[in-house]
């Protein structure tokens, strides 16, 4: 029914990522052929060059990354970037903008019989974060300083899946010994319960993560907007205030934990439904006596 869905969090080691390529930012002449840059340095260099041309409208000032690419960690492990914004482990680097519902990944013996079935595969409140990296351009005599969010940053990846319960003989009951039989109907009902947890996480993702991703997206990379400021620090601060990254990710983590923790609202609401599963005690199945017959009403 939960297991990984407890408040315990897997400690994900933080990993320092390398600084954005200053070489690409400051030593690549804007006049270079973009295909040449792509071949020799990579897409990031190309993107920076394109960005600078776009932003400067012919001015030659190089963009100045204002911080290193952030360290990694899970929501509650508290990796933070230089601005104190929550950051997390980066997977493929291609984080989806929708919550990833991977559904049922397999079946195992029931958790109440010592297995891992009927369990969420991720910790409640968990998410993989790539904190926004703010890039700026200094003010000129004619234009204010500008801040934007580096491409590939400012992303949240929320994945949810669960392990179902095999029907049939599930072995020894964990809370008092004796053999356990889980019916097909109970197994299906356990799946339904796990889907309720995923549904809850998705609703919270949509309420808290989607809006911040939308805000980030509008300021991200080459095609995004810029935030103006009297100087680079002011522009960055203004952009940070608008993005409000930490509030969003913390609200998601806090609410997801509260809703989906064992005996939290999702559990209690579902258990109160008439079709929930119960332990009917001793019963014979296929001429074998089981001590715990788990079925729906």
């Amino acid at each position: 029914m939960h297991a990984a869905r407890t408040s315990r969090q897997a400690a994900i080691p933080t990993t320092k990522r390398k600084e954005p390529s200053r070489l690409a930012a400051s030593h690549v002449p804007l006049t270079h052929d973009l295909l040449f840059l792509q071949r020799t340095i990579g897409n990031r260099a190309t993107s920076l060059a394109i960005q600078r041309e776009f932003e400067d409208q012919g001015e030659k000032a190089a963009p100045q990354p204002v911080l290193e690419e952030a360290a990694s960690g899970a929501v509650n492990v508290e990796g933070v970037n230089a601005f104190g914004e929550s950051d997390g482990m980066v997977g493929s680097g291609v984080a989806p903008h929708a919550m990833s519902n991977k559904g049922k990944t397999g079946s195992d013996l029931w958790e109440h019989a010592g297995g891992a079935g009927g369990v969420g595969n991720q910790s409640v409140g968990s998410a993989e974060l790539t904190a926004p990296v703010y890039e700026t351009r200094a003010a000129t005599a004619k234009k204010p300083a500008k801040a934007w969010i580096k491409s590939g940053t400012g992303k949240v990846k929320v994945v949810r899946s669960y392990t179902g319960v095999s029907s049939g003989n599930n072995g020894v009951y964990k809370h008092g010994g004796g053999t356990t039989w889980v019916t097909g109907k109970a197994s299906t009902r356990i799946d339904k319960h796990e889907k309720e947890h995923i549904k809850s996480s998705k609703a919270l993702h949509d309420a808290h993560i989607k809006p911040v991703e939308k805000r980030v997206s509008s300021y991200r990379g080459l095609t995004g907007k810029n935030k103006d400021g009297a100087d680079e620090a002011a522009a960055t601060t203004a952009l940070q205030t608008e993005i409000d990254w930490n509030t969003a990710v913390n609200d998601f983590a806090t609410n997801d934990s509260a809703q989906n923790t064992p005996m939290g609202p999702v559990d209690l609401i579902d258990q109160a439904k008439p079709d929930f599963y119960y332990n009917f005690g001793a019963k014979e199945v296929k001429k074998v006596q089981y001590d715990h017959f788990v079925d729906t009403n």
Partner: protein, 122 residues
Amino acid sequence: MKLALEVVSRDGNEVVIRLVVFNDSAKPVEFDRRGLAGPNGVPEKQEAWPVSLEPAAKAKAQNAVLLSAFCLYGRERKFTISAPTTFHAYLVSPPGGGLLAGGPADSKTLVASAAPLVLSPE
């Protein structure tokens, strides 16, 4: 009718608990065995264990239990406790509906409940 939870035996952290339904009146009473829930263990700061019921009889009429005056009916279950655990039991009518460890989802269906029994591991 009165419901009670009692420890029948204990060996370390293994406990045998009996749920007793007692007709404490001078008149016969009838209830449906499918509406009797318990003993239901709720360990401290952990998920409640699955609610205990008993299999329904094949013939509906056989689910009715007639208790004569001052007679007993009951159910026994064995548990292993590893944290302070509160056990609950109750009777609902009609049977069915949502049954949580501590009581029915619809309190209007509650007929009687046992005083909670709290046990701690040794």
